[in-house]
């Protein structure tokens, strides 16, 4: 499925981030460290899946014809997914999931705030809803950074390890490409490069409070926006798309 219209590609890109993040979070259901976290993690997962649906529904409207939100989720292969690599990494342990979430939430809040001002009113409307969620998500993941970072020696070590592994995937959030440049010029897209300093301030403040250290810069791994993913995404899609692939063209 090749998308050409820049706005559609942008909207789908945002939908992909949300869907893959939501899917990974939902994998915690029945596996969380205690029952309240089964509920909380699935709450956040639901927010992301809900966000993905809004983006995909908008993209489907833009494309018209037979395309629906499900076309994007279930009928594209790995090369057509344009989510950030950060979102697709396997969930790892609880520290890995919460560190990933914190790093992303610290980006997602200023991102959705900026998207509220998009020249595209539909995107601005989706962002207005998402921003409220991101505010709560960040508060929650920040609290977990404090508890894990400043909890026990084990939790501190797990948390620091997770940060060290995740750090190289954070550059991609602030990357601009030709698609973005064009849409930034017309006031539709968020200039993600401009969010980096706010993100870094949030992260620095929180990690410091959590007695954790900012990993040394190691250069960034990117490629998600071009459909160059880790091996893990293919397996995620194989599972997620199983029904639509095994029984195509039916109503469920």
């Amino acid at each position: 499925m090749k998308l050409h219209d820049p706005l559609t590609r942008y909207v789908v890109r945002l939908g992909d981030d949300a869907l893959i993040m939501g899917h990974r979070l939902s994998e915690w259901m029945s596996r969380a460290p205690f029952l309240e976290e089964d509920i909380a993690l699935s709450n956040v997962a639901l927010d992301f899946v809900g966000r993905a649906r809004l983006f995909y529904q908008y993209a489907a409207d833009l494309m018209g014809g037979e395309v629906t939100e499900n076309t994007f989720a279930y009928q594209r292969d790995v090369r057509d997914f344009t989510n950030l690599l950060l979102c697709e990494l396997p969930r790892g342990d609880f520290a890995f999931t919460l560190c990933r979430q914190f790093l992303y939430d610290a980006y997602s809040l200023p991102f959705t705030q900026a998207l509220c001002k998009s020249a595209d009113s539909q995107l601005a409307a989706i962002a207005a809803k998402a921003e409220k969620e991101s505010r709560y998500h960040l508060r929650r993941s920040r609290d977990w950074m404090l508890r894990l970072g400043d909890g026990t020696a084990e939790s501190h070590e797990r948390c620091q390890n997770a940060l060290d592994q995740l750090w190289i995937y954070t550059d991609e959030m602030f990357e601009c490409d030709a698609l973005l440049d064009g849409l930034i010029a017309t006031g539709v897209a968020v200039n993600t490069a401009s969010l980096r300093s706010e993100w870094l301030d949030t992260v620095t403040e929180t990690l410091h409070a959590a007695t954790l250290v900012i990993p040394e810069a190691q250069g960034g791994v990117t490629g998600g926006r071009e459909g160059i993913h880790t091996d893990d995404l293919g397996f995620l899609l194989a599972e997620m798309q199983f029904m639509q692939r095994a029984y195509p063209g039916l109503q469920w």
């Binding site: 205690f34 029952l35 899946v49 499900n70 894990l148 026990t152 029904m243 109503q251 469920w252």
Partner: protein, 318 residues
């Protein structure tokens, strides 16, 4: 001797309070057996909600559409929430959640045996929501009037959500029955596998039920296993027929005189086999819960350590 007298007096007072339909509250005097009986029943109920997350949660990652995915996530999340209310209700009886979970892990405490069956196809998510949640509602509506206050109040809240779950399950089945032949076959197959275990959810026949008589007297249970099962059959059969599903019971027939459906004999050997640990998924269900709990130990410890540090800080400052 005097103690015995006062115990007898307490028990009489307790029974007359129950008979008068007054709720028993956590701080009220209650017979030790009443307390133990309730802990057993409420914790079994809580564990069922929590273990039930597994067969349904299995399909969150594979749900066929985004809408179904979101609904299923919300549903399974509700089940976890029900587990939480119920653990909290059990805790009012003087037992901790850790102890309850420990009892689950050692096998001392049970959960609904139906969750020892696998959810093999998407239609199973329909069948579980429709049948298992229907059975749960029938049982829980009667428990809204149970004599123990915290349990009764938890049931009121839970019943509201369960009826949404039941509708989502039935809606999945209805959609499948309106679909292609392979979807109708999938739905029928799921009904065939889940029907009898659903009937078994109500427990043994009244005559064979170990805890029934005393539980009825104390109004922990309000209606008998067989009464509740009959109500479930009467409504589920009509729902099945409405969408073209065939209930897998050759002896099923409407009894004009009774005003109920007569149904075939339940295979109690199968029931005993699964309850005693040899259902298709008993080991996996328990192992899954044990491993999640063990893997989460360091998180719980971190949280406790962090909170202890926070509490210590003001003292240090002063």
């Amino acid at each position: 001797m005097k103690d015995n007298m006062s115990l007898v007096g307490n028990e009489e007072k307790f029974q007359s309070k129950v008979d008068a339909e007054e709720k028993v509250e956590p701080k009220d005097w209650m017979p030790e057996k009443y307390r133990q009986n309730l802990i057993r029943q409420i914790s079994q109920h809580a564990h069922s909600e929590v273990i039930g997350e597994q067969p349904e949660g299995n399909w969150i990652s594979r749900a066929p559409t985004l809408e179904r995915k979101a609904i299923l996530m919300a549903k399974v999340q509700d089940e976890a929430g029900h587990g939480l209310y119920l653990y909290a209700a059990a805790e009012t009886l003087g037992i901790t959640r850790d102890e309850l979970i420990d009892r689950l892990h050692t096998g001392a405490s049970k959960y609904a045996s139906i969750f020892n069956y696998p959810s093999l196809t998407w239609a199973d998510i329909g069948a579980i929501g429709w049948l298992v949640d229907s059975a749960a509602i029938v049982n829980q509506v009667s428990l809204q009037n149970t004599s123990y206050g915290p349990y009764a109040r938890a049931m009121v809240k839970i019943c509201k959500e369960e009826s949404f779950h039941q509708r989502q399950g039935y809606n999945i089945m209805m959609t499948l029955m309106q679909g292609a032949e392979l979807q109708r076959d999938m739905a029928q197959d799921a009904l065939n596998r889940w029907w009898w275990p659903s009937l078994m959810m109500f427990g043994p026949h009244d005559a064979e039920s170990a805890h029934s008589a005393q539980s009825m007297k104390w109004k922990i249970k309000r209606r008998s296993n067989d009464e509740l099962r009959q109500q479930f059959v009467d409504q589920a059969v009509q729902q099945a027929q409405a969408i073209g599903l065939v209930v897998p019971d050759p002896d099923l027939v409407w009894n004009e005189q009774r005003g109920h459906y007569d149904f075939g004999a339940i295979d109690w050997e199968e029931f005993q086999r699964v309850v005693s640990g040899n259902g298709p998924c008993n080991r996996q269900r328990l192992a899954h819960h044990v491993s999640a709990h063990q893997e989460g130990a360091w998180v719980r410890e971190a949280m406790a350590a962090y909170e202890a540090k926070r509490r210590a800080v003001p003292a240090e400052v002063a």
